[in-house]
């Protein structure tokens, strides 16, 4: 509806503004037609199991060994301030598995299963001992849903970029935007044993195409939702927003603001960006508000296209683009071990 309004009010947007808007569903009652695509059970299970609730954020599993990506701005809000002072601003990178930093007090929750238990006696329902269960009635009280919840109490920090980069411009609610707003954590099942999983999103080098319908998984306090909407542009400032922003634009702002204030890039970034592909997509927007901060933004082929991190009003969700994250891992942090894990699912374990 918002998109339609924009189209009517400002003609400039008309050719760039599809008729589609965004849509939302509950996982209990999945869509037959998710904006031009019929998701099957396997797809839905992956979209659900690949997402984790991380306090108020969502994180997305991106490797078979429990590596997960979320938004840096959201992760910072759930860190324990007493223990995170050192790296919350300056950033953190674990060069190897044993350097990964346990985040005290933070746990991750996965919706391991969900089923309809309407009319069943409690005694008739089988439950696994290491899962928690939660019963949620449908809004009209005609159906009772039960969620099986897996909680992981060992979450470790793998990579958190400097605040100067993740909050570049301090432009909450703004697009065009140039924020490297992502962070990596790893889920552990017990001391030094990362979670092994088959349900994760495959990282991709490609950018979301304009008008491509993309999906997000949210895990709010109660029922998970699936969100769909197209990568889009909209009229603003007398012109139209870009389909994505690039690192060129980040440098433009750094220099046009005189390398001062909230648009200041760290010296390390400036020197390493000279060897970088600056045209790599950095941020893009999807129609509708973000499902949740840190939510995975993925294609119908379950490719991870980015990480949702901020709303522009009710009309757009700003996403950190997957190719931009790879560029930063490669050129700024030299984080080949993370790149390898994302690309080949090769986890570099100690003593290997």
């Amino acid at each position: 509806m918002q998109c339609a309004l924009v189209c009517i009010v400002a003609f400039l947007a008309a050719p760039f503004c599809g008729a589609q808007d965004y849509e939302r569903w509950m996982f209990e009652e999945p869509p037959v037609d998710a904006m031009g695509f019929a998701p099957d059970e396997f797809w839905l299970e992956n979209a659900r199991l690949g997402a984790l609730q991380l306090s108020a954020c969502v994180a997305a599993l991106v490797s078979a060994d429990g590596l997960a990506v979320t938004s840096a701005s959201c992760l910072r809000t759930v860190l324990d301030p007493a223990t995170s002072e050192d790296y919350a601003v300056g950033g953190f990178l674990a060069a190897a598995l044993e350097e990964e930093l346990k985040l005290s007090g933070l746990s991750a929750r996965q919706i391991a299963g969900l089923r309809d238990i309407t009319g069943l006696e409690d005694a008739d329902i089988s439950r696994e001992p290491d899962l928690d269960y939660q019963v949620v009635p449908r809004e009209d009280s005609t159906i009772l849903w039960e969620y099986a919840l897996a909680d992981y109490h060992d979450v470790r920090l793998v990579l958190l970029p400097e605040a100067a980069a993740t909050e570049f411009g301090a432009e909450d609610g703004v697009y065009p935007r140039y924020s490297v707003d992502f962070a990596f954590v790893r889920i552990y099942v017990s001391e030094d044993v990362p979670l092994e999983t088959e349900s994760y999103f495959a990282w991709t080098e490609r950018a979301a195409l304009l008008d491509e319908v993309v999906y997000q998984t949210a895990i709010p306090q109660v029922a998970p939702m699936l969100t769909a909407g197209p990568a889009h542009v909209y009229s603003y400032n007398g012109t139209v927003t870009p389909p994505f922003t690039t690192f060129y634009g980040m440098l433009d702002l750094h220099h046009s603001h005189g390398g001062s204030g909230v648009w200041t890039l760290p010296a390390r970034w400036l020197s390493r960006m000279s060897a970088m592909d600056l045209s790599s997509p950095l941020n893009f927007t999807v129609a509708g508000p973000c499902a949740q901060s840190g939510a995975p933004v993925f294609s119908r082929d379950l490719e991870l296209l980015g990480v949702a991190f901020d709303d522009v009003g009710e009309t757009s969700c700003v996403v950190a683009a997957a190719p931009g994250v790879l560029t930063v891992l490669r050129n700024i942090y030299g984080a080949d071990h993370i790149l390898q894990e994302l690309e080949y699912q090769q986890l570099s374990r100690p003593n290997e």
């Binding site: 003609f11 050719p15 760039f16 703004v174 007398g238 389909p243 060129y248 433009d252 005189g258 997509p281």
Partner: protein, 732 residues
């Protein structure tokens, strides 16, 4: 484009050409008004205060703008605002480097060899004109590597303001014994013309390139004789490709942050075919400017609507603008699908599309401003101040007491006619159907021939104009004809005899399809044949249509013209009242005569963040890569794709400042306190569009190409060493 529209407007007496086609736009000279009998009215016994308290507005010192004349330069203000000691030598230097470029832009001398700098968008017609066989210089750009390669542009001239003489007393003397305001205005204007002729012929005996123009300011409150030197051998030196000159195209027009290299260079030659030697040029700034630095624009702003009454604004807001915008929007929708193809017909569509969408954007932005209640409230407060001053003086009250009521009544009359006028919005202009435009030309041409006593030259001119109308693709024409018929139906109703006459009761789409299938006028050769063989006597399908439509059209135009005449008269009297009260404490309205506008380089709040005072070449490449999926408007020319390693992309490319500019300022130099070039004005941001009604500088900005960006491009991309050697400051 706008030039041709303006000619047709004059020719046909159409009062409805799109305004603000671009920052540079044609400025029509003031119409000499026919006398209109004033209906006797009683001045109000009391003045009612406007209900504007809720908006907490104050009349700003510069609500009317800061377009200072050189007759009355703002030395005190520059001292107060910038601690700048601007003496007469400073103002003379500021004035003498500036140029009027052709009939709608500004420019400046930037070297001792009369190198001229203006915008790329001011040079488009010139660049196209000097393109030789198989060349498309708009596409590939142009650089004369040697002086002999510089290409003369036929009919292009620039004018330099050499001197100003106050002739107010001489002009006013002519009206001293004349009774009646209107007679007095006419006597003054006659006298002004007489002085202009005498001074021009006196000057021409010394130097045939000199010309004198008596400029009327404050609607006759002041007259000044401006002596110009005209340079009419002007040659193209350098122009970048249109893709970089107009980077971001139509979508980015009137916006900032911006990344356009909207610059071109020419040179003035003397009668012996040698470059003019001059000391009247601006030196190139050695350093750039940054946020907070004072900057000055010297150029020729066209006109604004800042000095009218609130009733006029309300008519614009509620009637004129919404109807014009709707008409433009419909045509944008028709033309847009045909833009972007590499054929002649597509080029013609693109030219029209550019103007139409440009006007659409400008008028939409202006309407937004008028919908802002604080703007109207501030204008109401200013009007109340003026009315109060009139009311307090018996003599002013006697002269001007009924002025505001008269103006309001006129607006009510215009409202009654607005619907019918809207049916003809942009009719007979290039913004509408070219088939109907030709038909109107044909009708007019044939009517004049039938009258029998028309000047042959005039007929030849009309014929030339008519034949210059370009072909549009038939499917575009069909839609344009259909939308016009639809607008007539909306305005007149289906039962209207004129409407029934031209449609024969058929639906408009069918009428348009039949017309396009049958008429020879869709093709320029076919039209030429018909025009010479006797247009109205032919059996072409468009003839019955135009025969049915033209009488109504001319009747509506006559009515609107009479409203316009009366409005011009009342506006003149309003300006006189204003001058009687405020004198020269505020600058007169823009008049495409040379003005100085002061301001500072400043970013501003936009889009919930902050727009920096300047952009860099990094942003250019950001946009190039980011927008490729959207359209070709952000494509870069080939030579820009791999900038050499020495090119520092953090160099400033565009910048924003608070200077007061409007259409006509395109190509104006942006100068620092030392009167050195620091930029080249080419646009205003979207927030500046309402400035046509009230000057503000909170978020409204002038957009310039940064002088450092120009040098960087000349050096690293174009290797234009000859230009660099001329404009770079000498090394110590």
């Amino acid at each position: 484009m706008c030039v041709r529209w303006a000619l047709l407007v004059v020719l046909l007496g159409v009062g409805c050409a799109p305004t603000a086609v671009e920052t540079a736009r044609v400025v029509e000279r003031p119409v000499i008004v026919e006398e209109v009998n004033e209906r006797p009215m009683t001045p109000p016994a009391t003045l009612e205060e406007p209900a504007v308290d809720e908006f907490d507005v104050d009349v700003g010192r510069f609500d009317g703008g800061k377009m200072w004349t050189f007759d009355n330069p703002p030395a005190d203000w520059l001292k107060e605002a910038y601690n700048l000691d601007a003496d007469s030598a400073w103002f003379a230097r500021a004035r003498r480097g500036a140029l009027r470029f052709g009939s709608n832009c500004s420019a400046s001398f930037v070297s001792a060899s009369a190198l001229i700098m203006t915008n790329h968008h001011c040079a488009r017609e010139s660049i196209a004109e000097v393109s030789q066989d198989e060349e498309d210089l708009l596409e590939v750009g142009f650089y004369a590597a040697a002086q002999e390669d510089e290409r003369k542009v036929a009919d292009l001239f620039v004018e330099q303001l050499l001197g100003i003489e106050d002739v107010t007393a001489r002009v006013h003397s002519a009206s001293r014994i004349v009774r009646g305001d209107d007679e007095r205005v006419r006597a003054r204007r006659n006298k002004a013309s007489e002085i202009e002729r005498a001074l021009t012929s006196a000057a021409a005996t010394q130097d045939s390139s000199l010309r004198v123009e008596v400029v009327e300011l404050y609607s006759g409150g002041r007259y000044a004789a401006y002596t110009f030197r005209r340079y009419d051998d002007v040659r193209l030196v350098m122009a970048p490709e249109k893709r970089i000159g107009y980077f971001g195209g139509d979508p980015d027009n009137f916006t900032y942050p911006r990344y356009a290299l909207d610059v071109s260079f020419f040179r003035a030659y003397d009668k012996d075919g040698l470059p003019v030697t001059t000391s009247d040029y601006y030196r190139w700034g050695r350093d750039g400017v940054g946020a907070g630095d004072p900057v000055f624009v010297v150029g020729n702003p066209g006109s604004t609507s800042r000095l009218g009454t609130v009733a006029q604004l309300q008519y614009e807001r509620d009637y004129a603008l919404p109807r014009q915008i709707q008409a433009l929007q419909r045509r944008v929708a028709i033309l847009r699908p045909f833009v972007g193809f590499e054929t002649d017909a597509a080029n013609a569509v693109e030219n029209v599309f550019f103007s139409v969408s440009n006007s659409f954007k400008a008028l939409t932005g202006q309407l937004e401003g008028l919908k802002d209640d604080t703007l109207i409230a501030r204008r109401s407060a200013g009007e109340y101040e003026l009315r109060e001053a009139i009311f307090k003086s018996d003599s002013l009250s006697a002269h001007y007491g009924t002025l505001f009521q008269n103006m309001e009544e006129l607006q009510l009359s215009k409202r009654a006619e607005a619907q019918r006028a809207a049916a003809f919005a942009f009719f007979g202009t290039e913004a509408g159907s070219h088939v109907l435009m030709r038909a109107l030309y044909g009708y007019y041409y044939a009517s004049l021939q039938r009258r029998g006593f028309v000047d042959e030259d005039e007929l030849a001119n009309i014929r030339k104009e008519a034949l210059a109308v370009e072909d549009l693709p038939p499917e575009v024409e069909e839609s344009l004809v259909a939308v016009r018929l639809e607008e007539l139906r909306e305005a007149l109703g289906t039962q209207d005899p004129t409407f029934r006459g031209i449609t024969g009761g058929l639906v408009v789409d069918t009428v348009a399809a039949h017309l396009l299938a049958a008429t020879a006028v869709k093709d320029s050769a076919g039209f030429a044949e018909l025009l010479d063989a006797g247009f109205l006597g032919s059996d072409d399908a468009v003839v019955p249509l135009i025969n049915g439509l033209a009488p109504l059209y001319f009747a509506v135009q006559q009515q609107m013209q009479s409203f316009n005449s009366r409005e011009t008269l009342l506006s003149g009297r309003l300006a006189q009242a204003r001058f009687a009260i405020y004198g020269e404490t505020t600058p007169p309205d823009a008049s495409f005569s040379l003005r100085l506008a002061d301001g500072v380089v400043a970013g501003y709040s936009y889009n919930n963040t902050f727009a920096p005072a300047h952009t860099t070449f990094y942003g250019l490449y950001d946009h190039y890569h980011a927008y490729r999926q959207v359209s070709r408007e952000w494509d870069l020319p080939g030579r820009w794709l791999t900038p050499p390693s020495g090119f520092d992309l953090s160099t400033p490319l565009n910048l924003v400042s608070t200077n007061d500019i409007t259409g006509g300022n395109s190509g104006s130099p942006l100068l620092n306190k030392e009167l050195e070039i620091v930029g080249l004005v080419f646009d205003g941001n979207i927030e500046s569009l309402p400035n046509v009604y009230l000057f503000t500088d909170r978020v409204a900005r002038a957009v310039s190409v940064d002088a450092q960006g120009i040098v960087a491009a000349l050096e690293h991309i174009y290797e234009a060493d000859r230009i660099l050697a001329e404009i770079r400051p000498p090394r110590d």
